[in-house]
Subunit: 268 residues, 2 copies
């Protein structure tokens, strides 16, 4: 049975207090998942362990199947909408929150070694926008990418909004951080990946490149793009566009490229 919370200062729901500020500061050991769809994805996977749930009273009945399946060790707190908003610090329309533990990030080499012979990986360089990172994880999950590698400048995929935009994809696709873009590419090359850097100045055209058994797709931020030194040591590929309007969102770009690279594998 859910544990009723009537006082926003109740110490048991400390982890839910001032969600926005603490998320932006970056939580080291935990993260917040928001909304029913994301919660269901979180509970289906095994990488992240759930510590507790906080539900608004109106959501309890509809999530009975979820809470009934939880271990006794995971408390489910219930609060009125008003108390929940006071805890969280802003109106939490979805009325569904969970706190989960981050998993330790493996070394890039370790993550790559564990992948199957045929694998698709995404590498992100300098992507500081949570919507874009969330959108890329959604596409990575949809097209069955086995891993996402992040450079130090790319933002946290477990930030609440990134998880939400990913529709839970950030909880599904394993990821880790590389110490630098160069180290990322080096590790991919050592693991036998065909490293494909998407850039408007690419020497090849996406729709014409064959799918290698191990392919890695590198994406940079809209505007600056990928660093020149990185483009020099990789296979550069472009998506041809209409003359007057040469502009794609980077998450959309990832969808187009992953659709092409996943192509043959998916249709079997």
């Amino acid at each position: 049975m859910p544990i009723p919370i009537t006082n926003p200062d109740d110490p048991r729901i400390e982890a839910y207090r001032a969600v926005r500020e603490r998320d932006l500061a970056g939580r080291e050991k935990r993260f917040v998942a928001e909304g029913e769809v994301v919660l269901r994805v979180l509970l289906r996977q095994s990488r992240f362990s759930v510590e507790s749930l906080l539900l608004s009273e109106g959501r309890i009945e509809g999530l009975r199947d979820v809470t009934d399946g939880l271990s006794e060790a995971v408390p489910v707190y219930a609060a009125s909408r008003q108390v929940m908003d006071a805890i969280v610090g802003f109106p939490i329309h979805r009325g569904v929150l969970a706190i989960a533990r981050r998993a330790p990030l493996p070394a890039v080499e370790e993550l790559l070694t564990g992948l199957p012979e045929r694998a698709l990986v995404v590498g992100l360089v300098g992507l500081a926008n949570h919507d874009n990172v969330g959108g890329i994880f959604r596409n990575a999950a949809a097209f069955g990418a086995q891993a996402v590698l992040l450079d130090p400048q790319t933002c946290d995929p477990l930030y609440r909004k990134a998880i939400r935009v990913s529709v839970g994809g950030a909880l599904v696709v394993p990821f880790t951080r590389a110490p630098s873009p160069d180290a990322m590419v080096g590790a991919l090359e050592n693991a036998g990946f065909d490293v494909i850097a998407l850039t408007p100045s690419g020497r090849e055209i996406l729709s014409r490149i064959p799918r290698s058994p191990r392919a890695a797709l590198l994406l940079g931020a809209e505007g600056p793009g990928l660093p020149p030194a990185l483009l020099e040591r990789t296979r550069t590929v472009s998506i041809p566009m209409s003359g007057g309007f040469d502009s794609l969102n980077v998450a959309t770009t990832s969808g187009i490229a992953l659709h092409h690279l996943a192509g043959t594998g998916m249709e079997n």
Copy 2:
């Protein structure tokens, strides 16, 4: 020279007052364009005539090339950040606004008749989200679609946020409204279009369908999708995804499908 505005109640900047509320109510004859990138796209096209500009003082110098090229009939108003925020009703970080006149919407048949023999058109059914509609227009512009058709339930592409997300694509790709989804498909068929409805239950796979000289891509909202009656009378196509995570954003979907359908044409 810009006309200084020091009083937020100045009648000359009436069209900029309470921007958000008036945009949401739907402006019948005009629309608001926001930001430098969108302004530059707006001024490069000829379909929409610009009535005036409102710039924050800090943006005047950097937009001198734009304002110098304007007709005398287009006033450029300048205000301090504080006065501009007071006029608009919220902090307008970009400091760049323009009011332009809507163009009359042609009948669907008229718009289609004017298209070249080889043409790519997008049809939207029930898309009520401005981010998604903006994203789709961005992709339509990037892949050279000649027109976008909207059903009555699809939201306004000239809403400020939709234009911004489209990076001006909503000002570039001609669009009009069909009286119903059925009338949209009927008009496309009569104009010789191969009507391709994207749906998870599609009978064909996107990457395998050949590009017809005249192709029309139909997209419905995430969740409800396209109406069953419409799927019965069209060529239904799916994008294969990874088993456990069958979810793509509709704007990303449009990018993937337009990239495939534009394919051969773009690479010539």
